[in-house]
Symmetry: C2
Subunit: 349 residues, 2 copies
């Protein structure tokens, strides 16, 4: 007779051991579910007394509205799809951190998917995410054509890096590639190097092209000769860097410094140099790009260009939320900065 058991007038949901819902809260607070929803969303005026009753009930039952149901009802999921090319990339990983961070602050949640640098997977990811009704999409580079991006942006606003599209529903965020590369190359020049090799990234990659452009610009500024043999192409990976470097070295092209267009290929290049018995920085000065965390700990620690990719992630997050909520994003450009460590030194030849 005592005890809270078996009040018997509830019909139990068939499948789910249903937890606590808005109806329950409403009953507890002695109001209708509508009112509960209203205080939850502040979507309409609610009298002080009832508001408090509802808040009390919510607290007491520690009720949390189901994002699923909210999503279905409102058509907004407070979720942003994030397409990265490889979830374990040390470079984009930092961007993901920034995105997660900032999205959290803004009350959104990221849904990550990996595009593996292939168009096919990128497209698969996009439709997967759009199917899940994400409110917006952040795409970290990848090889999608601008047209494709614009097309997909019809369903969902997009913030993208490494592209040049702009549009009411697509916002581009770009790294400070050109300036950064110029900085790096100038640094080498200022150390007295004149034959500076460039380990480029994949040429179909916007960032890669910009970095080469910066390298060339720096050479041009000082009217240094631009020997095309000095530019070798890797694929932004350590293996690629190593292979390209082997090739350059085996061809016996003369150079005293190397600008690697990203740190990962710099790692590979360093190994190649090591295998060829060349010491960094004594024989060859090396500067990288991206300033990966680990570059502080390579031997020797790598001089590199920091473009605060973490901040780029945060900006992307802010931008997509702006877009989703109908605001025009504001660009906060983060400037590239050269971090001089121990892999570069004065040209002694």
């Amino acid at each position: 007779m005592a005890g809270p058991a078996a009040s018997g007038d509830e019909k139990t949901a068939p499948h789910i051991a249903s937890s606590i819902t808005a109806d329950v809260v409403a009953r507890e607070a002695g109001v209708s579910p509508s009112t509960v929803s209203r205080v939850l969303n502040g979507s309409a005026r609610v009298s002080e007394s009832r508001r408090r009753a509802v808040e009390a009930a919510i607290a007491k039952l520690s009720f949390e509205p189901s994002p699923l149901a909210q999503g279905l009802a409102k058509g907004k999921t407070k979720t942003i799809g994030v397409i990265t090319q490889a979830i374990s990339s040390p470079f984009y990983g930092e961007a993901l951190r920034g995105i997660e961070d900032q999205l959290g602050v803004l009350g959104y949640m990221p849904l990550f998917a990996s595009g593996h640098w292939t168009n096919e997977d990128n497209i698969r990811c996009i439709s997967l995410l759009q199917k899940r009704r994400v409110d917006g999409l952040i795409i970290l580079t990848g090889g999608l054509s601008d047209d494709a991006v614009i097309k997909y942006s019809q369903r969902t606003p997009i913030v993208i890096t490494g592209h040049e599209t702009v549009n009411r529903r697509v916002f581009s965020i770009n790294l400070d590639n050109y300036e950064g590369a110029r900085l790096a190359t100038r640094h080498l020049i200022s150390l007295g190097h004149t034959r500076i090799a460039c380990l480029a990234g994949p040429l179909d990659h916007f960032d890669a092209r910009e970095r080469i452009r910066g390298y060339r610009a720096a050479l041009a500024e000082k009217e240094l000769p631009q020997d095309p043999n000095l530019i070798v192409s890797g694929n932004f990976s350590a293996v690629g860097g190593m292979l390209a470097m082997n090739q350059l070295l085996d061809a016996r092209i003369e150079f005293t410094a190397l600008f690697a267009c990203n740190d990962q290929s710099a790692y590979g290049a360093a190994l190649s140099l090591y295998r060829h018995g060349l010491r960094i920085p004594d024989d060859i000065s090396l500067v990288g790009f991206d300033d990966l965390y680990d570059s502080r700990f390579t031997l020797p620690p790598l001089t590199s260009v920091n473009i605060s990719i973490f901040e780029v992630g945060r900006s992307a997050a802010s931008a997509i939320v702006d877009l989703v909520e109908g605001r025009q994003p504001t660009v906060r450009a983060t400037a590239a900065e050269l971090v001089v460590r121990e892999s570069t030194t004065r040209n002694r030849r």
Copy 2:
């Protein structure tokens, strides 16, 4: 008069420019929505003819059911929450890849969140994810107590690494820490080293303790003296490794080899050694643990223990899906394997 415009009998949804729904498909196929659902889920017998009609309609309209609605209706979201401690960790990043990969194969989608190694954030993540109605949870290590894990597993099954809990709703996956550490240490011993330092991880960390245990076991096997001064504690980070190493070196403790309990701290240790003018492997042999991708490219390339963390991620994914779908997971132990590179050599003193 011609053209497909304004058929006028649809009432438009208020907020969403509603795309194509099951009802539309049903109408197109001349059946009821129930039937559409049935062919979608294979949840009941449907006559050959109608099935084909429905399938045709689905294809024609390229209809994709809304996971949101399905989730709400079925109480299952085909989503697995994944709590990693830092989304950009090079080590766990590989696990994430494995998880994403395998989950994709099994028709699930990961929802990642970062616990930042703090209990507070881990708990926040768990409730965030459970609120989002994930079907299950994968937790990559982190410092949660077994009790806490068990508690949270009531709402949702959990697969966790770096713990020892087992239970009908919690499944533990563990790395081959002990064996791996033994392998690493034995390798050093076999090279004639007798004073082998150990750069340990944080002692409140299960994996870290197991690795020390393996190190000790290897020494014990050969009845080598165990000097407690030879064990220094880092925090599994490069900085920590560097600091710990500085300390050891400054204390002038004699040793000819170092077993770093993870590669990241090995990187830090290597830098410390370099700064102290000690060469790897000539002066000190170094072996790491985890075999991070970059360890192939350190100078010199690092000998390390590979525990195929990618595979661990896949196993975790399979396990959680098993749990979610009511099966008992089967353990596929992945054995640790020593990868000998160039950071270790015969003791010459």
